[in-house]
């Protein structure tokens, strides 16, 4: 076992002065939406989408299920904050306070060592972007979404909002009305990227929202590993994250989409991610949800093409005052499609962790296979763990299995470990890390280390509160 660094609570919590170039007034209105679009100098078709989304937002109701969102008031949120810099292509050009933020988060170091391309977003805009030359030589496009709209208008227009429609839910409508930043990736036919691309989102500005839009197209036979990370310092008032991820994965293409979210505990994280898979395509989701006051996050794979397959491996950690509602959605449409879902949640100090899933197997999905496995671990008697699966099965010629377990740390296991000299705290940490290991094993080493650090921070807080 690698010896874990001593936990540092303030690791993600440092904040910079709210030193923006422009911060739009709080709330949501036609005027605000038009102002964002104007400042971005956008084409009319995009403004039309924004305005249509605003109309839809006004009509849609809040979800009647899931965590309480009553504390979230869009009138208290500024939806667009432009940092005091343009997009830079070297870290030296990035203003010092922003650069030091990403330094602390280890982004330039990781870029140097492991990554083929990096994008860093600060509040509403991308402040740093780079991609290795050889990527461009292969025709790979990796840029921020605003630049893509200008440089590849036809490509963006063909795909934008075609995977996640404006009407999906109220916060997606909000997202389309005010979205800003995010990544655009295009991997041409047959190009297999060995190195990963990573986008990192940092929300520094208080009482604001982050609404990045990520659009990824992986063409026939191509492959990509994309990683996103997110964090924010803690403020006393509510922040909102309502991003959108649209993934198009073509015939026999492969996409691995890894996320570690570590939002501060005043964040409402209402995020939407969806992939459409063509014939023989495969998408692996790896998802770590830490932090946030409330998370509602249910990545989705639409197995449209025959023989397409998807795996979801997710972990969430709900501590004091947190309600983490996560899970996975999969729709089997094509023949011989398969899905494999492994979800783990940990709750402590009164935190609520819910696994919520949707499995739909349509009549057309002859010979589909679906396996769901979810485990909830509660570290004390006041925390909650719940499993809410919804299954629609229209085809009888399929294999479907669902296993759910909810439990506590075993006293006997803790005792066993203490007889081998481990303190009770170390024993618990080891058991929790072990519980999480199916997920950390899926992550590249440096992210697994980060995840273990997050787990240790959370456990350290348990100790502190005891």
């Amino acid at each position: 076992m690698s010896k874990i660094e001593s936990p540092n609570h303030s690791f993600y919590d440092f904040k910079n002065k709210d030193n923006y170039e422009y911060k739009i007034k709080k709330g949501l209105s036609k005027e605000i939406v038009e102002e964002i679009s104007k400042r971005k100098n956008e084409p009319q078709w995009l403004l039309d989408i924004r305005l249509k989304a605003l109309e839809i937002y006004d009509k849609l109701e809040l979800p009647i299920w899931g965590p309480d969102l009553s504390e979230l008031d869009i009138d208290d949120i500024s939806t667009y904050v432009k940092p005091k810099t343009d997009k830079k292509s070297t870290w030296e050009e990035v203003p010092e306070d922003i650069k030091s933020t990403f330094d602390k988060l280890g982004i330039p170091k990781a870029e140097h060592k492991y990554l083929a391309g990096v994008e860093a977003q600060y509040d509403s805009e991308v402040v740093y972007h780079s991609i290795k030359n050889e990527m461009q030589k292969h025709g790979v496009i990796y840029t921020d979404i605003d630049s893509a709209i200008k440089e590849y208008p036809e490509l963006v227009k063909e795909y934008f909002s075609k995977c996640v429609p404006l009407t999906e839910h109220k916060f997606i409508a909000l997202h389309y009305a005010v979205f800003s930043g995010g990544s655009f990736v295009y991997v041409p036919k047959g190009v297999k990227l060995e190195l990963r691309l990573q986008s990192y989102y940092r929300l520094n500005s208080p009482e604001s929202g982050q609404f990045e839009h990520t659009l990824i197209i992986v063409e026939e036979g191509a492959s990509l590993h994309f990683i996103e990370g997110c964090s924010a310092p803690k403020y006393s008032k509510v922040n909102l994250h309502a991003g959108c991820v649209e993934l198009f994965v073509k015939d026999d293409a492969y996409l691995r989409y890894s996320t570690i979210e570590n939002w501060s505990k005043n964040m409402f994280n209402l995020n939407t991610k969806k992939a459409i898979l063509e014939k023989g395509a495969k998408v692996d989701w790896i998802s770590g949800s830490f932090g946030s006051r409330v998370s509602m996050l249910y990545p989705m794979s639409v197995l449209k093409g025959d023989n397409s397959s998807t795996e979801y491996t997710g972990i969430s950690f709900a501590g004091q005052g947190q309600n983490i509602d996560t899970g996975f959605k999969v729709v089997h449409i094509g023949k011989n499609t398969s899905s494999n879902i492994v979800s783990k949640s940990i709750s402590k100090d009164g935190g609520v962790a819910t696994y919520r899933s949707l499995v739909a197997v349509l009549e057309t999905a002859e010979n589909a296979k679906c396996s769901v496995n979810c485990d909830g671990l509660m570290l004390d008697n006041i925390s909650k763990s719940d499993t809410i699966p919804v299954n629609f099965i229209e085809n009888s010629n399929i294999v479907f299995s669902h296993e759910a377990k909810v439990g506590k740390l075993s006293e006997e296991a803790i005792y066993y470990l203490t007889t081998r000299g481990l303190s009770e705290d170390d024993a618990k940490a080891l058991l929790v890390r072990g519980f999480a290991s199916p997920i950390s094993k899926q992550l590249p080493l440096e992210y697994a280390v980060e995840m273990n650090r997050l787990i240790n921070i959370e456990l350290e807080e348990v100790k502190k509160n005891d």
């Binding site: 006293e411 296991a413 007889t419 024993a427 890390r433 290991s437």
Partner: protein, 255 residues
């Protein structure tokens, strides 16, 4: 003779039920002791009371180990003093490999980091010696191990952690021929003049290949007879029936 463990008149409860009723025991360095007794006599309780397992509460008495009063120390502190207890049914721990675990335990016991390469060599020598297949090194601790493999894994930990006192809880494994072989070989490898072994068992079969210096009979929470290895034969022939009746009589008298 240097005293290693001294148990002085221990009374202990489990779930408010009195299990140990004034137990005394002295183990010196270099000795092998065996505690035998019928089911329900308090054999496993004794091991867990020495290790101060939560839920086992001492009402009175003292336990001294290597001149340190360990009566009220926590389990992990007692382990770090140099007492190892092997489990009859070791717990399966997911997500940590056998090797990583033993290395972590070693660092905890020694109170200092363990050199990876040095420890790796030592670990691999041990798995070879014990006839554990090399693939177990990276398997999750005890997960999917057979009974015999679990036993070997416990013995490996004993040998790697090098405690001063090994307590082998073999309460129920008396009839498993493989287990008996593994344990007796392990004890053989472990024993030296500076450490000691305490084997807790129900059945005399456990002792065929072991030459204990002392055999104690534990009945109803007390040691009722102590003698040399010859006592094992007596138990083999007559069982515990005599002791039970004796104890019951004394028990009645006490009432």
């Amino acid at each position: 003779m240097e005293k290693l463990l001294e148990i002085k008149n221990i009374f202990a409860n489990v779930d408010k039920k009195e299990i140990l009723k004034g137990l005394n025991l002295v183990i010196n360095k270099g000795e092998t002791h065996v505690i035998m007794g019928p089911n329900g006599a308090g054999k496993s309780t004794l091991a867990n009371v020495i290790l101060n397992k939560p839920a086992y509460t001492k009402q009175s008495g003292k336990i001294l180990f290597d001149d340190v009063d360990i009566t009220d120390l926590r389990t992990d502190q007692i382990a770090r003093q140099g007492i190892f207890m092997s489990f009859q049914q070791p717990v399966e721990i997911e997500g940590i490999s056998f090797f990583d675990f033993v290395k972590t335990a070693k660092a905890s016991i020694d109170g200092k980091p363990v050199s990876y390469f040095e420890f790796k060599d030592k670990f691999e020598a041990l798995i070879e010696k014990l006839g554990i297949s090399k693939e177990f090194e990276n398997r999750d601790l005890n997960v999917g191990f057979s009974g015999g493999e679990k036993k070997k894994a416990e013995i490996l930990q004993l040998l790697a952690l090098e405690p001063k006192l090994a307590i082998l809880d073999e309460t129920d494994s008396g009839l498993d021929v493989d287990a008996i072989k593994i344990v007796s070989r392990g004890v053989e490898m472990f024993k030296n003049e500076n450490n000691a072994v305490l084997i807790i068992t129900h059945s005399s079969k456990m002792l065929e290949n072991l030459k204990p210096d002392f055999v104690h009979i534990l009945v109803d929470g007390k040691i009722v007879e102590t003698a040399g290895a010859e006592l094992v034969e007596k138990i083999e022939k007559y069982g515990y029936a005599d002791y039970k009746s004796v104890n019951q009589i004394t028990g009645d008298e006490n009432e």
